[in-house]
């Protein structure tokens, strides 16, 4: 979670700036935010009221870009390139980094060919350089590149901004986990009780046998 710690300062800075800017200055801020090499979270900035005011103005494309960086992928940009402004190289790199995070949300093992297709990368070398230099060194993912099976095994991936509809899914997963853990605790307690009962029964049985041995010895 150190990635979140790094984010916190940057987010604070940009949220404060966004709160006092409007129109062209705000568009400039969106460009800065979506080009910043260490920032991969945008929902706090997106929720600043001034941003919503851009809707319907000549700067509404900046708002669309910020939404794209908060929730979208490079693939989304490609299929909507006509209605979105051209992206700088920094923005393209960042959107591709965010796309890796989105792919890592559903799979732990990312196939090279899927990644190359999703990120518009032409060869394995370029892909591995991107994953190492732009993703692992940036601290947004940790994992292992498996050349033999041409896949990237993700051990850790930073969380992306959540779309509102994802919240229920997350709550559902957490409550499943909670139920599983509670059930496990209950099972363990049951087992402990069972073991205690069995141990009492065994002790009682052993006592009966010893008493019987004593009796037989006396009668002999």
């Amino acid at each position: 979670m150190d990635i979140e710690r790094k984010h916190a300062e940057l987010i604070d800075l940009f949220v404060k700036q966004a709160a006092v800017l409007d129109g062209p200055a705000l568009a400039g801020l969106v460009l800065e935010v979506t080009s910043h090499p260490s920032l991969f979270a945008f929902s706090e900035i997106l929720s600043v009221p001034n941003l919503a005011k851009l809707e319907g103005t000549q700067y509404s494309s900046s708002l669309d870009v910020l939404r794209l960086f908060a929730y979208g992928t490079w693939g989304d940009y490609r299929s909507n390139a006509g209605s979105l402004p051209a992206l700088s190289s920094d923005q393209v790199r960042k959107l591709k980094q965010l796309s890796v995070l989105t792919l890592a949300e559903t799979n732990k093992v990312l196939r090279y060919n899927q990644l190359m297709q999703e990120l518009d990368v032409s060869n394995v070398r370029e892909l591995e350089d991107f994953l190492i230099n732009e993703c692992m060194y940036a601290g947004i993912v940790r994992g292992k590149l498996d050349q033999l099976r041409t896949c990237f095994e993700v051990q850790f991936a930073a969380g992306r901004d959540l779309r509102p509809e994802q919240l229920n899914n997350m709550i559902q997963t957490l409550s499943n986990w909670l139920d599983t853990s509670d059930n496990l605790l209950y099972l363990i307690q049951e087992k402990i009780k069972w073991a205690d009962t069995m141990s009492e029964a065994t002790k009682k049985h052993r006592k009966e046998i010893e008493d019987k041995v004593e009796e037989v010895k006396k009668s002999l």
Binding site: M1, A41, Q155, A157, A158, G159, R160, L162
Partner: protein, 46 residues
């Protein structure tokens, strides 16, 4: 708290921790080995 949501989302994504076939095979093998040992120990007791 968006930061917390992102952290929870990152954590949940790591579940299930292990789901490969090989893991299941190894796990069941360990299970059977231990059951066999328990059985043998019970014999030794008897």
């Amino acid at each position: 708290d968006n930061s917390l949501l992102r952290q929870v989302s990152s954590l949940l994504r790591r579940l299930p921790a292990m789901e490969s076939e090989k893991f299941q095979d190894d796990f069941l093998m360990e299970f059977n080995d231990t059951l066999l040992m328990t059985y043998l120990a019970m014999f030794t007791n008897c």
